[in-house]
């Protein structure tokens, strides 16, 4: 029974939404320490070590700005630091979160242009390249891509987007949202020439929500010098200056930083490549279960399968929300809901963050039992298929 469960329920809640994820005890315990003086000497030591260490997770040698704000704030930060009112930005409609980011760009006075997809695959790379080639006078100032679209379970190929921009010979900045991929799916800020990587604490980083990040390239910092969108809270300049000595220009979210320190240590101890391989394996096991049930995976393009979550389509005439409600009530598990046009049509299984094979099997068993309880047509054997895979390959 978790803190706010209103009914007495035995056993640990299965939080299998695609984030926030299950926070490991080690991280919770780190956060549960006294708040310290954020201007004192010990804070500087912590800050310096942490700001350095966190770069490894982004695979960058450049600075990473840490905001005491949730991920949506880091989206805003990426835009307001690099762009000016009316700037054209090329955004890719991968799903609900890409749509929200576009709406934010509009509210901030930018001129987003949207490359549509059918919400069943990642960003349309050839379309990006074509549009950039068209843009002879370089009106487009930035290309914005959601690396892992949390609403659909489709992962865009950032390496290919990079190559497309280069092939078009276009100077636009590349801004990438890794909120639900960082620390779960292979990602390389420097190697892929990303200018701003947007990230949040509550997914692969295994923290509660409340921290967010901008990894920033030299080119992005340069763009910031002339960008004219009003900004203050999210301004990189004061941040980067203060970070030099391990401090922050205004009060940081100290206890979440304790948690971050522990979480990054855990990721590096497991080894990032091992972390990614584990996510890949669990995602494959999940897809095998879905197929065995005879259900359809929302992502229609295998090269774009997400290793962080799998969105599953329900047969016509069946309600995904009724299924989720039944699973919550009977099996004490939270699954992700369908968003926007996918509302009630899909449910989403989060298999990211601090997760082991038996938690995954509990999760898939819960889905399979839920399908039966809720009367959703399916074949049994999905959990069995996942086990077959994991026992050969866990």
């Amino acid at each position: 029974m978790a803190y706010y469960q209103s009914q007495p329920v035995a056993g640990r809640h299965f939080l299998q939404i695609p984030g926030p994820t299950n926070v490991p005890d080690r991280v919770l315990r780190a956060m549960d320490n006294p708040t310290m003086d954020h201007r004192g000497p010990d804070f500087g030591k912590l800050g310096k070590s942490l700001l350095e260490k966190v770069r490894q997770v982004f695979r960058t040698e450049g600075p990473v700005v840490i905001y005491p704000a949730s991920g949506t704030g880091a989206w805003e930060a990426a835009l307001v630091n690099t762009l000016s009112p009316g700037d054209a930005v090329l955004m890719c409609e991968t799903g609900w979160f890409a749509t929200l980011w576009r709406e934010m760009a509009e509210r901030l006075g930018l001129a987003p242009e949207f490359i549509h997809t059918d919400w069943r695959r990642g960003a349309d790379v050839p379309a990006i390249e074509a549009r950039l080639r068209e843009d002879r006078n370089h009106a487009i100032k930035a290309v914005c891509v959601v690396h892992n679209e949390t609403s659909t379970g489709c992962t865009s190929r950032i390496d290919e987007v990079r190559r497309a921009i280069d092939a078009a010979g276009h100077p636009a900045l590349l801004l990438v949202d890794t909120i639900s991929s960082l620390g779960s799916i292979d990602y390389r800020h420097d190697e892929w020439g990303v200018d701003v990587t947007v990230a949040g604490s509550q997914k692969g980083l295994m923290l509660p929500p409340g921290l967010s990040f901008n990894a920033v390239s030299e080119k992005a910092r340069k763009a910031a010098e002339t960008a004219r969108l009003p900004r203050s809270f999210f301004d990189w300049k004061a941040m980067l200056a203060a970070n030099e000595t391990g401090y922050f220009p205004y009060t940081p979210a100290t206890n979440l930083l304790y948690g971050l320190d522990a979480a990054v240590d855990m990721l590096l101890a497991e080894g990032l490549d091992n972390v990614f391989a584990r996510h890949d394996r669990f995602a494959e096991a999940t897809r095998r279960a879905v197929r065995a049930w005879g259900l359809e995976i929302q992502c229609a393009e295998p090269r774009h399968y997400s290793s962080a979550l799998t969105a599953v389509r329900l047969p016509e005439g069946h309600s995904a929300d009724a299924l989720r409600a039944a699973i919550l009530e009977r099996f004490n598990m939270s699954l992700g809901n369908g968003l926007g046009p996918l509302k009630d049509r899909v449910f989403r299984i989060g298999h990211l963050g601090d997760l082991g094979p038996l938690q995954l099997m509990g999760t898939l068993s819960g889905v399979e039992m839920g399908l039966r309880v809720a009367g959703v047509p399916h074949r049994p054997g999905g959990a069995q298929a996942a086990m077959d895979y994991l026992a050969g390959n866990s």
Copy 2:
């Protein structure tokens, strides 16, 4: 990765030994509060409320002594408070823990007599009755039974033992070990006329080890007045006197008492009958899995099946310890080992305490995958059988 895991392992450890069990967060958080003055006024209020409340878990209206000691201490307490050097006690060989209790009785200078079984069933009630009938001059001072034998997964019928003693018209005390049954399997101290119920904190009570209990009948208190085994730390007298006002004669294990307070609240909120029904259901699901695998359950008498754990026999020539080691390494789950003559022959699945259906499915999936990984001959489909049962009946 738990506190002392020496390897970085993602995801929560599955602690599926038959105790200590998984301690719920609410209990851990309660324990994680500052230690208080055990002689101050607030302690008295806590103590009084707790000593009263805990009686409900034993289903007694009499006193329950709480020791700042692990369960083995409460075994000793039951003996030294009621018996005198050289006293004959009738004990029932249900398995390893019954054997240890007998050895303790010997070390304490008692004269235990052992009614043997084959470690595949609960106490032999007809044999108890027969032996008591024989004992015309009432040399036997106590009958000692382990309610749930943690080494075999066999639960003795205490109600029948009571009736046997009554049928024999014998005045012996009835001492019952409920260390691995209290809070998991239906148990009734008053209704079944038990004189001393021995219990521990780390199983159905969902606490870490470190507290133990004696529920004490009027007849037992009377016996204590003349019992001559030396005792001090475990003496009921000073305990019961101090408990009147909510205090203890020596320093209690304060932080574990905080946890006990939370744990009892949780059990009562769920409802004891619901708690027992949940354990029965999970035990049945587990046995269906074992049968589907084609393996043998250690308990050969269905009326004695334990709802707290299931011990599973391995086919000849296969090592249970090798299986457990493989499961620990590959799937991050601890299972119980075989004890005494069962060493390496059985493994034990704990399905007691703060457990939900998906944790159980994770557990059974882990066993099934482990059987495959370790090369133990079995049929797949055990987890599936458990799901079939739980989805109809969870």
Copy 3:
């Protein structure tokens, strides 16, 4: 020894900066619970109850927006939701934080006008009234006041500011920063006709940093409809709409909300008026200590003394930072530093948040011993003077 103390130091750190304050164990334990599904039914119940309950702390019946961002973010929110590019705002130079807020207004493209003071008193109310009377065509859109200036320990009289605005018959909005006063110093959003109250979690609310607040009047919501500063993350509209049912438009800082729930319960259990009286008493005790030492209080206007902190001036030729460093090293206490022009000239004693009389006495004793150790000229007897007061009046 706290989590990040780099030296082994016995005993609890005294965090006596004017915020972040000492987080009570009950709040830390609440935060140390598993993160939950922020779209699930239990979250809605928590959210609804919390959004309602928190209003009492602001003494408002209107809505309070909760941001997953630190206090600086709530400053920005107050401005961007109510104002348009180039708007004139009347701000009051009470000290360092008022200056930072003005700089933020400038960076956001507003036209702040600054009413100067000498950093030794609260806002200059007659000057505000005079300036507003001058502003016949109502170019000034908002009056911004820091209720408790954390850099100087001077508290502005918001009730008087209200009366001044009314007396001038001016329609400007009243925006008030209560970051270091809310939950510590008497404050009344509704009664004083405040339009936006800005607050943070890490002072009187006794939480770690990471949450911030805008209490919003009807008039402010109306202003938001036409305000044209770009905004998205901080936009009230989506917030207020989602809050109706207890949810948030984007991921909230769940675990900090658990802590807020506990903290508000604690404040209401003690009673807000009792909380304020306690802060008043501790502030008076502190000032008596300072006077007994023969040192000067930075706040020169007794009607503006802060009940949250006391800034103390050092005699010429002595370094406040050297004193603070000595106290940190020898006595394991953090005090606040001088900011801006007060750098190295004052130190600040925080006496707000979860504080009892003996923690205050430890604090004042630490200052007195520090003065001696650091060779700062003073008379002994400050702690004694505080005790004399508290023992008569605690």
Copy 4:
């Protein structure tokens, strides 16, 4: 407000009884980790490391037995492992706890002989020597001394007791209770030739109550081979055998062991000699305060002053319990009560465990304010005297 305070009280409770002491956050957080399999491989690693490390705190190279039981249990363990029914033991009446230990010895069937003192000094070493010299045929099997008598604040000189036994040429075992001295006052099991050192977790070891210890000499192990008091739970033999590989013969108090691991690390990081010096300093500061108040210290022999606590006598006609109640209510501090004949005549200030100078000053200020509030005749200036000392010497 601590977990079980029935009234809402701001600020941290001052637990200044002479144990249980304030448990450091680092220890509480360690304990707040999932319970692990006490028979698994990771437990063995933890156990082995911990059993080795803890020896340093006792300054022994021999084994230390750790019981999942409170300190009273370790008293019993020391007696039952080394003695036989009817054995004569020479015990020293230093105060209440020595009296309780003697009563335990009687209840266990031993024949204690008591060397009386006036409860205002440590053990009477010449009397011990004289009695042993008298005992020509070595009927006395053990000399039992409480190192630090928690009821009086008098510390016996164990080095001198050792020399007295040697001078008498007597083979008796030396059993020493260090429950309130270990980790606070210089103590050397090996160097002083102690045979059994009894200790508990909840004082200088900075843990909650629930663990206790026997450090055991070769001579004591040898005595155990022939000792005939019945024992089982407390038997060293099975313990020492299992400890060889890092395990325990029955379920250990796992989560308290986590805390012990953290606590021992903290003591060793500070350095035992530094820990003792800190306790000496705080005790001297406390005594200076008591003298400045014009009150009398219970310990009348300066060579026996305790560095762990100071018991203070009240003037005739004044109630120590009324004073303690007033301090608890007004200042949220718990002080120790008078025990046995000292009931209501003394109060005891604990200054041991995880304590810094400002906590001590808060404590002494609370006592001084309490004396005034409760109308106990005294001179002010005690806290000031302590500060004068600490600022010169902290």
